[in-house]
Symmetry: D2
Subunit: 308 residues, 4 copies
């Protein structure tokens, strides 16, 4: 349901009842100031309960993630790189896809990450001698969105995959969360690809192993919360306050939300005023992590030196 829409498996799992949902395994790890949570949807019971396909969803969070703090940044980038490396095939070319609309700030995460990815696939013949044998072939593209190109992202990506034949795809996208506190403080990495209807830009078709023929790793960061979610949550809190044993009000609440809230709020999103700055920062972090995962044989200093 749109009113409490979340692209995070972590939130979906909490809503569905947390650790005890059948078909779902959860594990949590503390890494300095970061928390890593792995949600594993192991069968159809879990998939149904969470409204997401079977697979592994890793969440890295820190309430300070949007702040420039070198130590935290290092942990985040490193952990992102390890998680990605664990999901990718060990060898072979990788295509990074930046989903979303570059001209809508809250939806521009994917294209901005692509700007920071070290692209190497075209270097083959003229790779400098010092780099020979140390570069994984990487290509990257931001294919645009349906309303701007007139073409389904999935159509465009399928054409590119067939012609350039990567062994795996990393698809980066801006997400919608349920909790405002998660905006720009959480990264989700999933081996399931992108589902139809997910993301700030609401993809109509999926991008996953089934549709592309190669593994698709999805990487995302929540950039918005739907305003209707906020209103709904405020109402829920109030209901609890007024009638603490109010399980029976749930139906009434839904009706109320539909009547009172959804109509007025439509597609409005809640976002920090500083979203422009934060999306820039999160895009930098994701690009750093992706580069480190894809080029383990390069030093940290070599990567910026090779950027266009």
């Amino acid at each position: 349901m749109r009113n409490s829409r979340s692209d995070l498996a972590l939130e979906a799992s909490a809503l569905a009842g947390g650790a005890d949902v059948p078909g779902v395994r959860m594990e949590q790890l503390r890494l300095g100031e970061m928390t890593e949570t792995v949600v594993e949807i192991v069968d159809e019971r879990g998939a149904g309960a969470l409204g997401k396909p079977c697979g592994r969803y890793v969440t890295l969070e820190s309430s300070q993630l949007h702040m420039p703090e070198p130590a935290l940044e290092e942990i985040a980038v490193d952990r992102l790189a390890q998680t990605l490396a664990g999901m990718l095939p060990e060898l072979g070319a990788v295509l990074v896809i930046g989903l979303g609309n570059r001209r809508i700030t809250a939806d521009s995460l994917g294209p901005r990450v692509v700007d920071g990815v070290l692209v190497t696939r075209h270097m083959r013949e003229n790779t400098p001698a010092s780099l020979k044998g140390r570069l994984r072939a990487v290509s990257a593209v931001a294919p645009g969105v349906l309303g701007v190109t007139g073409m389904e992202t999935a159509e465009v990506v399928r054409g590119i995959v067939e012609h350039t034949r990567p062994e795996a795809v990393i698809a980066v996208d801006a997400l919608a969360a349920r909790e405002t506190a998660r905006i720009c403080t959480t990264m989700q990495i999933a081996d399931t690809g992108i589902q139809p209807g997910s993301g700030v830009g609401n993809h109509r078709l999926g991008l996953n192993e089934e549709s592309l023929g190669v593994p698709v790793i999805a990487v995302g960061v929540p950039m918005v919360v739907y305003a209707a979610t906020i209103a709904r949550d405020a109402l829920e809190l109030l209901m609890e306050d007024l009638a603490p044993d109010g399980e029976e009000h749930a139906g009434a609440l839904d009706a109320l939300v539909d009547r009172v809230v959804a109509r007025r709020l439509g597609d409005l999103v809640v976002t920090p005023r500083e979203v422009d700055e934060r999306v820039t920062r999160m895009a930098d972090l994701l690009a750093l992590g992706i580069n480190r995962a894809l080029q383990p044989r390069l030093d940290k200093d070599e990567i910026p030196a090779l950027m266009h």
Copy 2:
């Protein structure tokens, strides 16, 4: 109060009780698909009730204003130009100030309008013969915001006014509204200048005749609603529903909002996902209206041809 913050006199007036507030006069006019409302705060009673200084506040609204519709656009630009012309001194140089932070989309209206203003003050000696005697001297600047420049906007503007001596100032700013439906559908023109604490960027000091020594016309468009306002409104609707005669709940509601909502929502704003596109469009409309008001002796076609 922040929770129901509005920079629109129209909304403040509605909250305060509409047409019957002592010290406030209201008038409404239908212009095709647009509505023009004039709120005039005539004395201190009105100023107190609405939380705004005495003066004339003209609001131009249309729910279609953010859509490209040439006929509506023509009415809006024309009416904006007439309203401005009525508030400006008939002769003399005018300085247009674009308030706000260019790098925060929702706060970038002012700087973007400045980009579209026809600047002529420097042409004096080399004005083409065909334009001699037909140009009003106009300068324009986006002075930045305190957090970015380290200087109060009011300090910067005062320095510029003293050195360049305009006869009047037009100050353009992004506003906060109470109703999401007003985002990018309403323009407010006021002869009161800009008040401390107003605007999306929250000006700490005012920009008005008192501080600058020349008349200051404020022009603004709502770009955001504070998320706390949304939540509060949802709660109010619910309270009415549950307890229709609930005047007595007002205090409880305030406490609840403070406890439940404000803490979680802080400075979060609600904005349309397409805010980037809409702010571009509204900035174009405002610049067109300002140019027409300031250069009545130029044809419509001459203005774009003179733009840098």
Copy 3:
């Protein structure tokens, strides 16, 4: 040869000897303040002499084209639309490709034009009733450049064409000219597609009917002159001055240019300081012309109203 590189058939033809080159037909037409020149390369003799494939190259020029002048603009847009319409198949979907690198101003014409193209291919089911039967299916994409994506533009485009099956492609690109006066004052429309090695970004592979399987119309505007061309031209002028009958110096000049000039100037380009502004303006003109050519059944006012 790079030193006198031009992507304009008009300049190549002038260099090769003008109207009398065998296998080349030229025609010139005056349209108010614009000049239209058609260069037709009819056989291999012409193709060899001009270094361009057989086909029809239409050039629209006016020294004022980069200035905002509504009357001239109307002629340019109209003539561009007619020329395109004459080269396109009468029916069927069209894909507009914006070549070049959005982040290099002088190479960003193509991506910027794509931003202004009215995209309709995705509207099918939900076309407003008033537009039914009046829209040609148009899609548009800026595929990026090899150095940024790691993929040949031709690979990416071929994949997209195979999956979305347009009947024709319009490929827009920034060009290099020989004469600085042509920067942003000339448009070239050719039914030959894009050749390897052409454009500011220097495409390594072509985009033409042979490679894509559908007709490809190329649209371009000169944005740069190579600095080596300037130096060479200055040297030539000097040689003529010093030795007016100096045909025999040509070889010496070439050697000199290679030794003296090319080494120091490399890939440096000459461009107007105002290139940012001019590329914006030319992109607007091209997008208007393309929209008019592709949507002849829409009124001029309807097109902006349908833009995203």
Copy 4:
């Protein structure tokens, strides 16, 4: 003379005869892969010969400066910081001015540097305890250019200086050089302020201690070479080649250049195609150096963490 225009004292000195010009002292220092040159114009003879006011001009150069190389970057930033620190008063507030037009890439260096300067003047009351006593008060503004604001930059800056009373000003500007090899590979720091007619944007009035009442340190990087300079240099090389003892041709050359070259090339500039990327990189370096010079009591890691 415009044809061989340079804003670099180093180039002016070389043109005037190098180390032996009376009234000019030169010193050169090797710093790893960088070269530091100090040109000191000590009296009016030197000022006349170089066409620049008396003062100290420090140039830091490396042909690799535009490339991302951490070691070189560290040297450049460090040396820039030391040079600035040596020219600034030890205590007191500093205002950083970014000259030039943000919307013309080659002229946008100044505004972009301002974006990266750590601004602290407004923090006074709410400086975090851990920073108390460690922050120098810094403000920063990009005042725009005459053609865009209608106001002389000098008018605007004077107003701001009078109202905010800094102890010194750092003025950052894009420069014109004579040698294309210097574009984005050289930084000049001068204690003379900015002269009328200098910079890519050609300032009409100066910004110096005389006009502002406080010391003005100018920081600049060459972003363009005038096309006429290129052509003239090519001609000179040719003349030398054809007539090695050709001192007597100098007059003829000047006439030729005027007749042949200047008319065709006007204000055209030569710039690398990658100017957008390089200006971004140089702006980052300058901002890092300025921040380090102004905040010597902050750790390197603290500065990014304090940036807006």
